[in-house]
């Protein structure tokens, strides 16, 4: 292995813990990040010669801390007295606490805090994601900008704005109590899911560029699970991401067109990711404390377990969506349930189920796509055509639009031969 490869991996994997500890120490995100950057620079010089340290994170924390304190001393020295003495005695006091503050037993809460800072309620979802990718994952602004398909300057600005807002938010640095810890866990899980969806909802032509977002979300979910080994919802979340991502290679054709689940080449599904996802669901079920991520992962598992589309246990999926509707009532969940219902009880029943959703989903692409498909199954082609036209108007990506156009083409073809005969 080349030097740079293992150093890169070591720096990336140590980052959440190291930046988290430095943040607890300095209580300022910029200082913590800068301290970590400086420690990384020293690592790049020292590690190739001296070999990797026994504990890279501890090494980076100590070095980062020392460099930052030297910097603070130097700046303070240039300022006039009496602030000088005050600052140094502050630092000395701080150094007395170092054994306690840099104690490794804090690392769970350090990493959780670092993630939690990124999901501040006032931040819009896209800023939360960008901030987490920058601060926790350590992706460069350029990499993040690329994944979001925006310019580097725009992303730089977005991250700076998010940081300012977070700095004003005053996140508490005391070790959180049990209730607060579990609240943080819920927010952080939601943010990791957002990161994943940002990558997953990519269209065919951008899927490759955006799939690092999915991989990063999985890495963060595994990290969170390692910190909180016995949380069934975190197992569920991780399983859900693994099972969804397992299908990545089968989701688009060579032209970047969407391939529906039932038309996908299942031999392209990543069996290793599926195995890991299923193992996590098994573990989570033992806790008998169900939750939305577990239910969603169980649905994904039923798809993953079906070797052929016709093996899919739609009745069970219908039941699981029913459970999800109770936990997290939302028209989108009902819409998804309707797809399962159409397989179990037919398109008529499914159509009936989604009619009441119309007012709330009147701008939702998938609503009209699904509605059109049900109508088409019932042979109500004219109405299907209207629904598909609406879907195309609402499509978020060219791949979505192209997929609906394919349905319309099929409708046209179906109506064509009868005309031909009439002639």
């Amino acid at each position: 292995m080349t030097d740079t490869a293992w150093i890169d991996a070591a720096l990336t994997s140590a980052r959440p813990q190291a930046v988290g500890a430095l943040l607890r120490y300095f209580r300022n995100l910029d200082t913590a990040e800068e301290a970590f950057q400086n420690a990384c620079l020293r690592a790049l010089k020292s590690w190739p010669q001296n070999g990797p340290p026994r504990d890279p994170a501890a090494w980076l924390i100590m070095v980062g801390r020392n460099v930052a304190i030297d910097d603070i001393r130097r700046t303070k020295k240039q300022e006039p007295l009496p602030d000088d003495d005050q600052a140094i005695s502050d630092i000395d006091d701080a150094e007395d606490e170092i054994a306690e503050r840099l104690d490794g037993s804090h690392y769970r809460d350090d990493i959780l805090r670092l993630l939690f800072i990124c999901c501040h309620k006032d931040l819009p979802a896209t800023q939360q994601i960008a901030l987490a990718l920058r601060i926790v994952s350590g992706l460069s602004v350029k990499q993040i900008a690329r994944a979001f398909l925006v310019s580097e300057a725009a992303m730089e600005q977005r991250i700076t704005r998010a940081k300012t807002r977070v700095a004003d938010a005053k996140v508490p640095f005391e070790t959180p109590g049990a209730v607060e810890r579990s609240e943080r866990l819920v927010s952080v899980a939601a943010m990791i899911y957002l990161i994943f969806n940002e990558g997953y909802s990519a269209s065919g032509d951008t899927a490759e560029i955006r799939s690092p977002l999915c991989e990063e979300a999985i890495r963060l979910a595994r990290l969170l699970l390692r910190l909180f080994q016995s949380e069934p919802e975190i197992m569920g979340l991780t399983a859900l991401l693994l099972l969804q991502h397992a299908r990545a290679a089968a989701r688009f054709d060579a032209d970047g067109q969407v391939i529906l689940l039932e038309d996908q080449d299942r031999s392209l599904w990543n069996q290793k990711l599926i195995a890991e996802g299923l193992a996590l669901i098994d573990k989570a079920m033992r806790h008998r404390r169900s939750g939305p991520y577990q239910v969603q992962s169980a649905i994904a598992a039923l798809h993953a377990r079906a070797e052929k589309p016709e093996d899919t246990d739609w009745a069970q999926i219908d039941l699981l969506y029913g459970a999800l509707e109770i936990m997290q009532p939302s028209p989108v969940v009902t819409l998804n349930r309707a797809v399962a219902v159409s397989k179990v009880r037919g398109a008529e029943a499914a159509l009936e189920m989604i009619e009441p959703l119309a007012p709330r989903l009147s701008n939702y692409f998938h609503y009209f796509g699904v509605r059109g498909a049900f109508l088409m199954q019932l042979g109500r082609n004219e109405e299907a055509r209207v629904a598909f036209d609406r879907a195309i108007a609402l499509a978020n990506t060219t791949a979505e639009a192209a997929h609906i156009r394919m349905h319309i083409d099929r409708l046209m073809r179906d109506s064509q031969p009868s005309k031909a005969k009439a002639k």
């Binding site: 292995m1 490869a5 293992w6 990336t12 890279p56 595994r222 390692r226 016995s230 890991e276 573990k283």
Partner: protein, 122 residues
């Protein structure tokens, strides 16, 4: 004599490898494995799923089931080999070869007491 070569490494770090790097390491390791296999010295080889997928059973009375790996350590058990070697020196040579293909982490070399090859197909 059969030796187990138990592979320990920082799981976070291995998880941070790029896909290309992971494939490269696996390829290099397979060269070493091929060589041993040709000599008829290679037993079962396993790469384990992440420790987040692990469950631990403490054999108390009644047995206690815990989430996660047996112990929280800096380096985790990520896989193992069983190799037929004349003596410890030879087993260490194999471990060194594997280590060249995949630097970082630790191998624990343990003579195998009871071995049943089993009959599981992959």
């Amino acid at each position: 004599m059969l030796y187990a070569i138990l592979c320990y490494h920082d799981e976070d770090m291995v998880g941070s490898w790029s896909k290309e790097h992971d494939t490269e390491v696996m390829q290099k390791l397979s060269v070493v494995q091929e060589k041993l296999a040709k000599q008829g010295r290679l037993g079962p080889v396993a790469r384990l799923l992440p420790t987040t997928a692990a469950t631990t059973l403490r054999k108390d009375d009644p047995p206690l089931v815990l989430d996660g790996p047996f112990a929280e350590t800096k380096e985790q058990l990520l896989g193992f080999y069983v190799v037929d070697c004349k003596n410890l020196d030879e087993a260490l040579d194999v471990a060194r070869d594997l280590g060249k293909a995949n630097p970082g982490g630790t191998y624990e070399i343990r003579p195998v007491g009871v071995f049943r090859p089993g009959s599981v197909e992959q």
